[in-house]
Amino acid sequence: MKPAPFAYWRPETVDEACWALAEAGADAKVLAGGQSLLPMMNMRLARPGVVVDINALSTLEAISRPDASTLQTGALVRQRALERYAAADPALQLFRHALAYVGHPQTRNRGTVGGSIAHADPAAELPVLLTALGGRITLLSRQGTRVVSAEAFFQAPFVTAVETGELLTQVEWFLPPPGSAMVFREFARRRGDFALVAVAAVLRLDQDQRVTAMRLGLGGVDGVPRAVPAATSLVGLPLDSSIIADFAAEVARSLDPPADLHAPAEFRRELARVLVARVLEDARRQVGHVAGERGEG
């Protein structure tokens, strides 16, 4: 498990990084936390000719809240750093809950938010969260800056809108208004595993328990994280257990999940039904409270 030969570049500035990526072209891979890239290189499943290490680019380590409805995370923000940042902010409880599922504290100390988004594993937690909340991704290259919406970013398993020569520099997350319920649940074989199915939900109800807004993101059920379009169909309806059960069944029916060693497609679909229902029950109970809630699948 030693990597094939490669060139190692460590730019000092974002400009230098863009220059390096332009120079190396399609043969380059960006190294941030290395939690996915390095094992793949060691197994010689990835053989980049040039590794562009962006760990010296300290300007990409910033986390900020420019306004109440936005969170910005630089590409190099460690998952653990965001988890800690979120712990201090009631509006970010969903981040804390979702990040607790990402690997283990040791891997979160290295793993980056930008790396997870750019890697685009269909079962990873952060892409599901981004899909549920909505947001946009900033891509920088020698040609300039491009901003891509979360919906357009994830294209296929491990394939994103990032083009040759581009560096993901920032992820912007849209935060729901205060009073929204936010729940993240996933079902994995063991703690820290990639999810078999993950569900993130953001929900608002009026005083009569009728849905005023809802966003739902699902992971592990498709090649990319899925936003559930049916989520809007609930708007205006009173959210009770029977509506939740029908809705969860409808969502599950609409899915065509992949099968693998650990979960036949039918099991995954069923897990999605169960998790969507449980997440919405959690969210319904939570409305009126600011704090998030998390549960085991």
Binding site: M1, R44, D193, F267, E270, V274
Partner: protein, 809 residues
């Protein structure tokens, strides 16, 4: 038994002597060693096919890569080595490198040696092997099917060994029983994944023809003659050194020995010392595995649940070669096949099946998990069929407390125990009756409660003769008999009175150094931390024999006894010297606090002075006493003869006992099994160090639970491993450890001087059955295989409910 005149260190929870160096990062593992200059590094070209003929190997491009020293292939091995001697009569040639054919994915095909591992791996990719793929037999059924591809043409079939044993009046007992109950179970392949992988450093001295090999091999040292014979040298030409620090094995590293031979040959052919550190991908794919076991069971049972006849057909998938000591998985428990039960009629048919998968070998519990999963699940099947409580069925069949020593029908001799008392204690600790009431009152939601148990007779210190039953009694007439379970140790004192102990147990992290200190401290009346224990095994420096090593839970039983015996020899010598100085008879003298005492009085004569005298002043020694203090003991456990003419064999020296009771909550919608409470009560005789004992039990238990819930080596029908990384192979982390409560009873073994029994493997034998029983109880079905992954439990739950969908809670 009191072992000392002074303080009793044995039995205390002394912290581990090993931990300071390990926690400081100062341990010295195989990868840290550079014992000779000029070491080069090996990487191995491995087969991508499970079954293929090798047409050609082209090493030309690879050997010209800068930094490459040389390449060894099957042709070299065929010319230079002999096949490994086997434990069965079948003609299945096994070499450490493939020759004409490859028979499993990952089988070594060539060794590339270079200045460093990076270059060696680069060069591996330039070795071109032309394969002609052959049909694959990737499991027991495929290998036994009519027209199945034959792995070893000379053997004529894929059955490497096949024996049937009948004990007692089996046919009549079965026919007379009012119920005949059958069941089939499958135990999946798994592997113990030690943190440290295999490692070998091989050095050949052309001037003398001596091989010295450093490897994290921990025995059994029956394999030393196997290695020497493959190399074609007398035993003393192969010096094997095992570092004091080995990063776990759980049995797996016993199978590093083919690489010991392979690297020794490579070092000789290429003219340089060679170091090979296996990487994780190699380890997962091609090191070793537990056997997959298919068991057909039939029981003759009375109306009240008494088993009067037991029949078992056991098929073991031993992989592509029958690598010694296999097929021992089938035989290590031969003397305790009837478990904790008084069953006097038994028929066992054992079939060792060759398949296109990695060869199998020792894994913690060795043979026990496979046996007890079937046997202890079968007890529950009997209970369910007869409408009885599983605890009641077990009570009815348990060997009574007044029956010890108890001779099983297959030849085992259970030395001591009180099985009903341990069962009662475990059920009480778990509040079995209370949980049954809770269960009866549970609502009909997605989550179902269940409780399960398992009773396990845990063997320790294997009889070196048990494997001879792979031969028929007639065939055995033609080979020399094997027996016993010997351990050896040496205790010496230097001219300044320092005590040094050498042990033959090749520890893999269990804490043998700590317990050796406790034993010697008690016998010689010194502080345990003042005793230097050399954990390193060296076949040129440590007394050893074929049974040496750490396996079959033999340290507390055999290794500790040898240390105790050697220390006693030193003690006797010191007392004789003291008797000469003090003009008192030896039997009036005791050793305490480093000095000689007469009755309650300190004589002021130190053992340092006594040892010093043996070195500095031999003229002053009593007549007939040799100078120096250097005592070696070879300890032989009693009662371990070769198999008899009826194929009865006492396969282990002593037998402990444990009962597990586990409570689970099973989510029928997600297949999640949550372990609510895990109770395990052990009777392992006297505990030499309760802290180490607890660690051993917890480690075994977590491993057992993990194979019950998460771990499985999954292959596709082409023999490709689908769980080759930790992404897919589910090793447990701390987060997977449930609440565990332990209990102890103490029935000392009458056969060992310290009264101890082994206890580190029992829960790997019990956990799978106990958990499967609990899940079966929760869902009202019969679990037949492990692991109980979410997908499998979800499928079982759906079958149980007979509905497409259950309600959301």
């Amino acid at each position: 038994m009191t072992t000392t005149d002074g303080s009793n260190w044995i039995g205390r929870a002394l912290p581990r002597a090993e931990d300071e160096r390990l926690l400081r990062g100062a341990g010295r593992f195989i990868a840290d060693l550079e014992p000779v200059p000029g070491i080069r590094h090996a990487a191995i070209v491995r087969s991508p096919y499970a079954h293929a003929r090798i047409r050609s190997i082209d090493i030309d491009r690879a050997k010209h890569i800068p930094g490459v020293v040389g390449i060894v292939t099957g042709a070299d091995v065929e010319r230079e080595l002999k096949p490994f001697p086997l434990a069965v009569p079948a003609p299945v040639d096994y070499y450490p490198l493939a020759r004409d054919k490859v028979r499993y994915v990952g089988e070594p095909v060539a060794v590339v040696v270079a200045d460093n591992r990076y270059v060696a791996e680069d060069a591996c990719q330039e070795v071109t092997v032309e394969y002609e793929p052959l049909p694959v037999a990737a499991g027991i059924e495929a290998a036994l099917a009519p027209g199945a591809p034959i792995l070893h043409e000379r053997a004529g079939s894929n059955i490497a060994n096949h024996r049937t044993f009948t004990y007692g009046d089996y046919e009549r007992a079965l026919a007379a029983a009012s119920h005949r109950i059958t069941a089939q179970f499958r135990y999946s392949r798994y592997t113990p994944t030690p943190i440290e992988t295999y490692g070998v450093i091989a050095h050949f001295e052309p001037g003398t023809g001596d091989y010295t090999v450093w490897a994290n091999f921990h025995g059994p040292f029956t394999l030393h003659p196997v290695m020497a014979q493959a190399l074609g040298v007398p035993g003393h030409k192969l010096r094997l050194v095992v570092p004091a620090d080995v990063g776990g094995s759980f049995g797996a590293k016993s199978a590093v020995y083919p690489y010991v031979v392979l690297m020794a040959l490579t070092a000789r052919l290429l003219g340089c010392p060679v170091k090979w550190i296996e990487d994780r991908a190699e380890h997962m794919q091609s090191s070793s595995s537990a056997t997959e076991r298919l068991t057909d069971m039939v029981g003759g049972v009375t109306d009240d649940g008494r088993i009067v006849a037991l029949g078992m057909v056991q098929y073991d998938d031993v992989g592509a070669y029958i690598r010694p000591p296999e097929p021992a998985t089938l035989y290590r428990v031969h003397g305790n096949l009837t478990g904790a039960y008084d069953i006097r009629a038994l028929r066992v048919e054992n079939v060792a099946v060759l398949t296109n998968r990695v060869p199998t070998g020792l894994v913690r519990g060795y043979g026990g998990p496979q046996l007890y999963f079937a046997l202890e699940r079968f007890m529950d099947v009997v209970a369910h069929k007869l409408g009885l409580d599983p605890a009641a069925v077990r009570r009815r069949n348990l060997i009574a407390a007044d029956r010890f020593p108890y001779r099983t029908v297959s030849g085992g001799v259970y030395d001591s125990g009180n099985y009903p008392a341990v069962l009662d204690e475990a059920l009480a600790l778990a509040d079995y009756e209370g949980f049954r009431q809770e269960q009866a009152a549970q609502s009909s939601g997605a989550v179902r409660l269940g409780i399960g148990m398992a009773c396990v007779v845990e063997p320790s210190a294997s009889n070196m003769g048990y494997l001879s039953v792979t031969y028929t009694p007639e065939e055995r007439q033609r080979v020399l008999p094997k027996s016993g379970a010997v351990a050896a140790a040496n205790v010496m004192m230097d001219p300044l009175g320092g005590v040094t102990v050498r042990i033959d147990t090749a520890p893999e992290g269990q804490g043998h150094e700590t317990v050796a200190q406790q034993i010697v401290a008690d016998v010689l009346g010194v502080e345990p931390r003042s005793v230097r224990v050399v954990g390193e095994m060296d076949t040129h420096a440590v007394p050893w024999s074929v049974a040496s090593g750490s396996y079959s839970s033999r340290f507390a039983v055999a290794g500790a006894s040898a240390i105790y015996q050697a220390a006693h020899k030193v003690r006797q010598k010191l007392l004789r010297i003291a008797a000469g100085i003090l003009h008192r008879p030896v039997d009036e003298l005791t050793l305490r606090e480093g000095r000689v005492w007469v009755g309650g009085a300190d004589t002021g004569v130190s053992i340092r002075r006594l040892a010093g005298m043996a070195h500095w002043h031999p003229e002053g020694l009593p007549d007939g006493l040799e100078p120096g203090v250097f005592e070696t003991a070879y300890f032989k456990l009693p009662g371990l003869p070769p198999p008899d003419g009826e194929d009865r064999v006492n396969s282990s020296a002593v037998y402990g006992f444990l009962v597990d009771v586990v409570k689970v909550a099973v989510d029928r919608e997600t297949g999640r099994v949550e372990v609510l409470d895990y109770v395990s009560v052990h009777d392992a005789g006297r505990l030499l160090n309760p802290s180490l004992a607890r660690g051993q039990i917890l480690g075994g238990l977590v491993f057992g639970l993990s194979t019950a819930l998460h771990e499985e080596l999954v292959y596709d029908q082409d023999g490709q491993l689908l769980t080759g990384t930790f992404l897919d192979y589910g090793v447990p982390t701390a987060a997977e450890v449930p609440p565990i409560r332990l209990g102890y009873r103490v029935t000392p073994s009458p056969l060992t001087p310290l009264g101890a029994k082994g206890l580190g493997e029992g829960n790997t034998m019990s956990a799978g059955a106990a958990l499967a029983n609990a899940v079966s109880d929760a869902l009202g079905i019969e679990v037949e295989t492990l692991p109980l992954s979410p997908a499998r439990v979800w499928t079982l739950a759906r079958q149980a409910s007979g509905r497409e969908r259950s309600p959301v809670v």
